[in-house]
């Protein structure tokens, strides 16, 4: 299977100017690749830098060192050096991000929140909302909530709305930031099934999954992030 994502010698640290310029090293010399149809899980304790790696791939955090190469057809784009509009374009059609935290927008209904990424990829509003509803149903979000803005939903309901939003569109690369955290067993099984469907479609995935059962079911490979610890490399 072709390589979709390649991290080459990636390094990241935070400089906390409000704490007297303290430099917090996060990761050093991160190197791995992910192929189409493969799910790679980042392992390691909290604070090891798993989320930072995902956020750098998504362009949400800056990458200080190295390259994050993404294959799009015959082109290769380096996310680490990309212009803002290139990153936005990548997020529209190449890299998806599933997280558990929903950033609600005033007055936008749950089904429209979910449908939005598909509309952005050019689907008709009708088609996108129909798919949004089927995903919300699969994730057991009660139908009476679909047309309401999710700001007042429970934490679990918001999380499932956000998962539906993350899975609705096709992206060749999908980043999973603890999508199953605090879900009940039934909904966890739905997410596992969604991930398996993406795999069958050839999506390359990088995930953070603390849940041991889920991890065993979907991970093809586990990468121990502690081997990239900045202080070890230094």
């Amino acid at each position: 299977m072709p390589v979709r994502l390649y991290l080459n010698n990636v390094g990241k640290s935070f400089t906390m100017h409000l704490q007297g310029g303290t430099v917090i090293p996060v990761v050093e010399k991160v190197e791995f690749s992910v192929s189409a149809g493969e799910c790679v899980v980042l392992g390691g304790p909290s604070g090891a830098g798993k989320s930072s790696i995902l956020k750098m791939i998504y362009g949400n955090y800056r990458c200080d060192k190295g390259q994050i190469l993404v294959t799009i057809g015959d082109d290769i784009v380096n996310v680490a050096g990309a212009e803002p509009r290139q990153v936005l374009k990548l997020r529209e059609d190449t890299i998806g991000y599933v997280s558990q935290f929903l950033r609600t927008i005033p007055r936008v209904s749950a089904e429209d929140v979910v449908a939005e990424p598909l509309v952005a990829q050019g689907a008709s509003e009708e088609e996108a909302v129909e798919k949004a509803r089927s995903l919300l149903a699969r994730l057991n979000v009660p139908e009476r909530l679909w047309t309401l803005p999710p700001a007042t939903f429970s934490g679990g309901e918001q999380q499932r709305v956000n998962i539906a939003r993350g899975f609705i569109a096709h992206y060749p690369i999908l980043l999973l930031d603890e999508p199953t955290a605090s879900l009940d067993a039934a909904n966890r099984a739905v997410v596992v099934r969604l991930v398996q469907e993406k795999k069958e479609q050839g999506v390359a995935m990088v995930g953070i999954l603390h849940d041991q059962d889920v991890r065993e079911e979907i991970a093809d490979r586990i990468i121990d992030v502690t081997t990239f610890a900045a202080d070890v490399a230094a």
């Binding site: 949400n60 955090y61 803002p84 509009r85």
Partner: protein, 262 residues
């Protein structure tokens, strides 16, 4: 989406500097704005963001630097070399300017319908019935009831006035809209409604926007890209969520960490 399809910037800003006597308003600011892109300028009072906005919108001549704009015929023109007639036409048709205080952008002693219709007449529309129906349509789009069309904006609430100002600006289908703290001074619930409305209109119409705000939540919701200003200089710029989630400069870190969590 229009944001990524165009290879040519709509606005190119080169080293724009404005002095007030010896004092610096803004200094050496350069950037490109692309079709469909929303750029937020953030920073505290006195950081130079409104000075910059006024320079960009030809309301205040820069002391140095150049600003080029892609006209509808595709040619790139230096804004400060346009004739006065060309500049006025641009401001009346291809551009919008949304003021913080709606009264600055509206004619307070004529009806809501006339406020919207006036911009249409300025570009040559003469048919009263068409103008009125277009105005009515735009009032609907900004959620003002049809039965208020003959009322003048003095009888409108702050939120309604702001929505009317937006309708007045957008009726001519501008390509570029400048906004100066459009949600400043409004109640939180009124702000939320206005923000959602702006977000939809900007994306439906594929507008390019330069928005000045000190509210980082507004910047996050509306903008693709952000520029942080301090003492007249742009100290940090980039993708909005990257600057807000991983700010690099000391002042940007201070700004982000000063937001109250609700």
């Amino acid at each position: 989406m229009s944001l990524f399809q165009s290879d040519e910037p709509l606005l190119q800003v080169h080293n724009v500097t404005r002095y007030y006597g010896d004092r610096v308003g803004c200094s050496d600011v350069s950037f490109d704005l692309w079709p469909g892109e929303v750029l937020a300028i953030v920073g505290e009072s006195g950081s130079g963001k409104t000075t910059l906005l006024n320079c960009l919108s030809t309301r205040l001549a820069p002391t140095a630097g150049a600003i080029e704009y892609r006209m509808r015929d595709g040619t790139m023109r230096n804004l400060y070399q346009l004739t006065e007639a060309e500049r006025r036409l641009l401001m009346r048709t291809d551009w919008g300017f949304v003021h913080q205080n709606a009264a600055d952008g509206l004619r307070m002693n004529v009806s809501a319908g006339a406020n919207v219709g006036e911009r249409l007449m300025a570009i040559g529309d003469r048919h009263y019935g068409n103008i009125r129906s277009t105005a009515d349509d735009w009032l609907g789009r900004v959620e003002i009831d049809s039965d208020r069309i003959d009322d003048d904006p003095r009888s409108f609430s702050g939120g309604m006035r702001q929505r009317l100002q937006i309708a007045r600006n957008l009726v001519t289908r501008p390509r570029l809209v400048f906004m100066d703290e459009p949600t400043g001074g409004l109640d939180v619930s009124v702000q939320a409604r206005l923000l959602d409305l702006l977000r939809r209109l900007v994306s439906d119409l594929g507008l390019s926007v330069v928005i000045v705000t000190h509210d980082l939540a507004v910047a996050r919701l509306l903008s693709h890209r952000i520029m942080v200003m301090r003492y007249g200089n742009v100290i940090e710029a980039g993708l909005t969520d990257q600057v807000l989630d991983d700010p690099r400069e000391p002042y940007s870190q201070l700004l982000v960490s000063s937001i109250l969590q609700v």
